[in-house]
Symmetry: C2
Subunit: 336 residues, 2 copies
DNA sequence: AGAACTTTGTAGAACGTTCTCCATTGTTAG
DNA sequence: CTAACAATGGAGAACGTTCTACAAAGTTCT
């Protein structure tokens, strides 16, 4: 009451016990009588005591988990966050997000900062780093990596099953009668391995092969413009595809524009499918067939794995979350 | 090198000085010779020392600023974040984001958590709280509130000039020759005051009055469905409006769908304008006229004000950021 | 040359927790 | 009745910083 904060000492004084005893009660540690329990709990309530996380950090846990975001514009990152916080809602862990930026350097700065703030564990979403850097971080703090295939021994990983996602799309289109199905992917100069778009492209190839069809992959970029350019090139061909599977919804929107401009109606002349199921895909005016990643499950899984690891698991786990295909108005049978 | 972290004591030992001296150098405090400076800096580099934020927190600054996000899906929140981090990039402050959720209760939990982690200052984005709760937070830590009109004495505020934004739209439409211009706003049951949509609606009324026109406000909700329903109702009238100004882009998308379904072409039969200039508004297929808030400037301003306040300013400041109108394809002269 | 400052470096006490011992009980066994 | 043990509460040392005093040394002024 003197200055600012209510400390454990204030509570101890009020309850007429030692600070050590209060600490035990707060932590739910062994060796407190029922009487002590109620006495202290009451004092805590009366004074409105909350443990000071920074002080805790100096000794043990800080009950803070960090989520490093590589790209705050990533359309399904809110879902992942929701999954994480939802899973953690009834625990005493708090989640803080760190905008890491796109550059490896800024991402490293952010993870360092999180370690300096003694966070108990880190979830890294689509980190752009070498495996060595990731391993170094994982050596300092429990880590779960989201969105990178091919996890390592030092940390856990949660990925969308992009191979399956691509197969769902191809199967769907083949089922409708399509045989000339092209795929637009993203051209990446980074040396990082196992990025989602690569796996999607590979899944597409596998699925086409499984149906005995020839694959046709064009690499532009995952932007509206990239989808537009890619589609324009594909649609200018003699045996133009009857369906285009874009590796990201934003590119699929560009494909739709290209179809518009070419005077092709969707889905009669051209079927279009995307990936990510971003919010506007469901708008009736767009109604884009897309693969949904269930970011909620991904986030919740990441949170679960992280807590497990903090609490002692050392064996590394990789969890693969199955996507689902959301069929909407942009895919249909090809015109004969 | 023994166990985990390099501490200030390790640096002091290496440089052959006291820990107090190292602390001075690290903090750039007064009273260090050039020789001491270089000696210590070298030791720091050699050992790769980084100050432990949690330990710092126990004494003074933690060099951490918190940004509470009420809604991670808010389309321009990435811009605000970028503005904040951009402004702070060359300082030693780190920014951490706290997903506060939509509920007052969860938001309070998050701000508490941020205070418990002794953050040096807080930016609250569109907080859903009573003024009293805000004041209580501001009493504990420097605060800048973003996106709520009518700031209080205890904290700084940064707002988009929503009155001006609404006026820009009305002026534009009137300039094109429209006289029957309707506005779709959001229906809020919350007791909070000064929320952006209220100010936009008020700005719309003022602007209409200034042109000697009758206003026409319909309250549904800022969702695609809300825009659709609102537009359907407006378009069913005898003297249907020739232009609809939706208070949010997402609602404007619903308006566009309603126009589609009513067989009205945009902008010939109906002009449509939105607010927020969300990413897809610029897609050629949508090409929505909208008001741009420049989240970048808003974020940068908030960061600047917060640092000023942390460093001692007590007089309260409210900063109003001017929006701009982005004219695209959904607005045009009315058909005579 | 001494007094009065200024500059530079250090000791050591905080900060608010946790956690390892210990001391004091009470209980059970012999 | 005493020895052995379990249960409970408390003392006090960490944890890694900052920061107030203060001591030592150097400088300037008379």
């Amino acid at each position: 009451m003197t200055s600012g904060r209510v400390t454990i000492a204030d509570v101890a004084r009020r309850a007429g016990v030692s600070t050590a005893a209060v600490s035990k009660v707060v932590r739910g540690a062994y060796g407190v009588s029922a009487e002590m329990q109620t006495k202290v709990t009451q004092a805590i309530d009366e004074l409105g005591y909350r443990p000071h996380a920074a002080a805790r950090a100096l000794r043990g846990r800080t009950y803070t988990l960090g989520v490093m975001l590589s790209d705050t514009r990533n359309p399904f990152f809110p879902d992942i966050i929701e999954g994480v916080t939802g899973r953690l809602g009834d625990t005493e862990y708090q989640v803080l997000l760190g905008p890491g930026g796109i550059e490896p350097k800024t991402q490293a700065r952010m993870t360092d900062a999180m370690i300096d703030r003694s966070m108990d564990g880190l979830i890294l979403i689509s980190p752009v780093m070498t495996d060595a850097e990731l391993a170094a971080i994982a050596a300092a703090v429990p880590v779960v990596v989201v969105g990178r295939h091919g996890g390592a021994a030092a940390y856990d990983a949660v990925v969308d099953d992009d191979v399956m996602g691509a197969r769902l799309v191809v199967d769907h289109l083949v089922g409708l009668g399509h045989t000339r199905i092209a795929h637009i992917t993203h051209l990446e100069r980074a040396r990082a391995q196992g990025l989602p778009h690569m796996v999607r492209a590979e899944g597409y190839r596998q699925a086409m092969r499984a149906h005995g069809l020839a694959d046709d992959v064009l690499a532009t970029s995952f932007t509206e413009e990239g989808g537009f350019e890619g589609a324009r090139e594909l649609l200018a061909r003699d045996d133009r595809p009857t369906a285009i599977f874009a590796g990201a919804d934003i590119a699929a929107l560009g494909v739709l524009r290209a179809a518009d401009e070419a005077g092709l109606s969707v889905p009669e002349d051209l079927s279009v499918a995307g990936y990510d199921n971003i919010g506007i895909a469901s708008l009736k005016r767009i109604s884009l067939t897309s693969v949904d990643q269930d970011g909620h499950v991904i986030g919740a899984t990441a949170a679960r794995l992280l807590v497990e690891r903090i609490e002692g698991r050392t064996r590394s786990v990789t969890s693969s979350v199955s996507p689902t295909l959301i069929v909407r108005g942009t895919t249909g049978p090809p015109r004969r």
